[in-house]
């Protein structure tokens, strides 16, 4: 699951003759999450093909549609970053059938739209394996931003991963006693308190899928000398102050999605449809920095599970209800 820089062979190619844009959701640039990651993919496109992306940030839900429309008119391919834009993108894409669009984390079934979703549960499963192996108290926790299906995918995958290697530690996750939701993606102070509560409750590893709320988790982990697991990007790198308490991060390669879609367009083979990026496709995985704090033998186990998932031997549940009936096959 190591990330490798895609499409580096080109160097500075002649400037491609297309225009690409992206619309962020309310998280905006600087979210250290999928908006930033999506933008990173486009910056690589700029480097490789000389196409400078247009970016519009949305302050409110109501901005989605005009932002998409505006970029749709200017650009050949417009990315809608985030599932909240599903409805708006559908409207805009219908309006402009000759333009191309792509959406992250949602599926819009139109002939000019490419939908890119991720198997967050698979990456989270690996985090669960790490947590399950690393916990000494046999209690691990999860902090979510807002309680909703996308975040629940992280939660379910994580619980399943823990269950696979340490069923006892998964108890709290399955009955949701060590699961907390902040009701926000920005309130870091709340994250700090949630994490302290979980750590005080005996958890010694906590995984989060909660945007900036997770920064509070890291702060608490550092103070209490416990482990935390990051999300979306390699947080040991993006939040370097906390690298010594971050066991690993579940990387969601939105950049791979935006890069691939853009490259396809530039090379003339953009295809609408649904692209699902899981472990196999290198769309999710664990961060390179994992090796810093996680022992090699644990990483070895993680790799084995990753292989089993790629091989289809394990189907990771997406829903919390399904974790109860989930049993991972023995992995050699």
């Amino acid at each position: 699951g190591c990330a490798k820089k895609g499409g580096e062979q080109g160097g500075t190619q002649p400037k491609a003759n297309v225009k690409i844009g992206m619309v962020t959701d309310q998280g905006g640039l600087g979210d250290k999450s999928f908006n930033d990651s999506a933008y990173e993919g486009l910056k690589r496109i700029e480097k490789d093909f000389g196409v400078k992306p247009d970016v519009l940030q949305s302050k409110q839900q109501e901005n989605y549609e005009p932002n998409l429309t505006q970029l749709g008119q200017r650009d050949d391919l417009t990315f809608a970053i985030g599932f909240l834009m599903e409805g708006s993108l559908k409207n805009v894409a219908q309006k402009m059938p000759d333009k191309k669009f792509a959406i992250i984390d949602a599926v819009v079934d139109l002939p000019n739209v490419m939908s890119i979703t991720f198997k967050e549960e698979e990456g989270s499963f690996l985090m669960g394996v790490i947590a399950g192996k690393m916990t000494q108290t046999n209690k691990v926790g999860f902090i979510g931003g807002i309680d909703m299906p996308l975040i629940q995918k992280f939660e379910a995958g994580f619980a399943a991963g823990v269950k696979a290697v340490n069923p006892q530690a998964a108890e709290g996750l399955m009955n949701r006693k060590t699961v907390k939701y902040a009701g926000s993606f920005t309130d870091s102070n709340k994250g700090y308190e949630l994490a302290k509560a979980l750590y005080n409750d005996g958890c010694d590893v906590i995984y989060h899928a909660s945007g900036a709320v997770g920064l509070g988790l890291f702060k608490a982990a550092k103070e209490m000398k416990k482990w935390a697991i990051g999300v979306d990007q390699d947080q040991a790198e993006t939040a370097p102050d906390f690298k010594d308490v971050i066991l690993s991060s579940m990387i969601k390669r939105v950049d791979v999605g935006t890069y691939t879609a853009s490259k396809n367009l530039i090379e003339g083979n953009f295809k609408a449809g649904h692209m699902v990026l899981g472990l196999k496709e290198d769309g999710v995985g664990y961060a390179p920095s994992t090796k810093n704090n996680t022992p090699a033998e644990v990483i070895a186990v993680v790799d084995k599970y990753a292989q089993a998932i790629k091989d289809g031997k394990i189907v990771v549940p997406e829903k919390i209800e399904d974790v109860k009936n989930f049993t991972a096959p023995e992995v050699k």
Partner: protein, 361 residues
Amino acid sequence: MANKNTTSSKLRAALNTLIFPIISIIIAMFIAVFFVMWAEGENFFTATVTLFQAIWEGSFGTSFSIIETLVFVTPLLFTGLANAVAFKTGLFNIGVEGQFIMGIFAAAAVGLIPGIPAFIHVPLVLISGMLIGALWAAIPGFLKAKVGTNEVINTIMMNFIAMFFVNYMIMGPLNAPGKATTPLIQDSAKLWRFLGETNRVNVGLFIGLLLVALVYILLWKTTIGYELRAVGLNPHAAEYGGISIKKNIILAMAISGAIAGLGGAVHVAGIQYQAIQLFGFTGFGFDGIAVALLGKSHPVGVLLSAILFGALNSSSLNLQLANIPKDIVYLIQAIIIIFVAADYIYKWIGEKRKKEAMING
């Protein structure tokens, strides 16, 4: 003769009230220019041109931007009027935000009911938004009237409660499976988009405009408005004049909430067609406070300031394309309000002139 005099003096008074905000807007824009210069390292001239061009084009420059401006104006009309009604009764309804959100919920729920003809469904959606908004606001109104608890606290609290409640509904009973939204409402519940389905501006705008007139009439031409304003200005005198303070506090909150709730319903029925998971407040309610205050809580003032705010909001798109940080828009809004708030300067200058004339004359 006397009549003519009063009309022309009224006109002059109206012009006078307009002049200060306009001067304020201009000053605010020039202050914003300095932020642009700072952000972009541009010289004054180019920064001015870029900023003014971007704002103009983003708000009124193209038919697309005019339409989007109107899309933003619409909810602000409702939340601005809602706040204005409360202010006029001496109440501070910070809860317009929550009432707006409850309106969103009501419309998203009622809009789902299948098999109702549009001429019934649309009014049903709007009325349900009004009712739930009215109810949500009447609670703090009731608590203030009967227990004496301060409406500011309760409305702040109820904003959060509304947000969590609606998020629960969106993710729970009303959830469109696998999505962070409710399903799309029925076609029969949608408001007519009079410039074609692809242009989001809809008859909600006219409902808002109608409401401007209705609120004006309500406040200044009816006994209800007479009583509401009397309670707002001097509750003791109102009571003496046989006007029930308690009834009017509850009534004012309910009217304010009904307008806010209607705004939420119009937003769903005309723009969103569904309720979308809230990651935070929509902001329309809070912007409505600024809109109402900027408009001096007068319906016509609310209309003008809603247009100003809507235009600035919708121009944020063009600003970003011109590489100007989107925050400039909100800086401009804030600075405009600051200058309008400081209109005492103008009064002071005016009075000083008059006074000098008297001493010398």
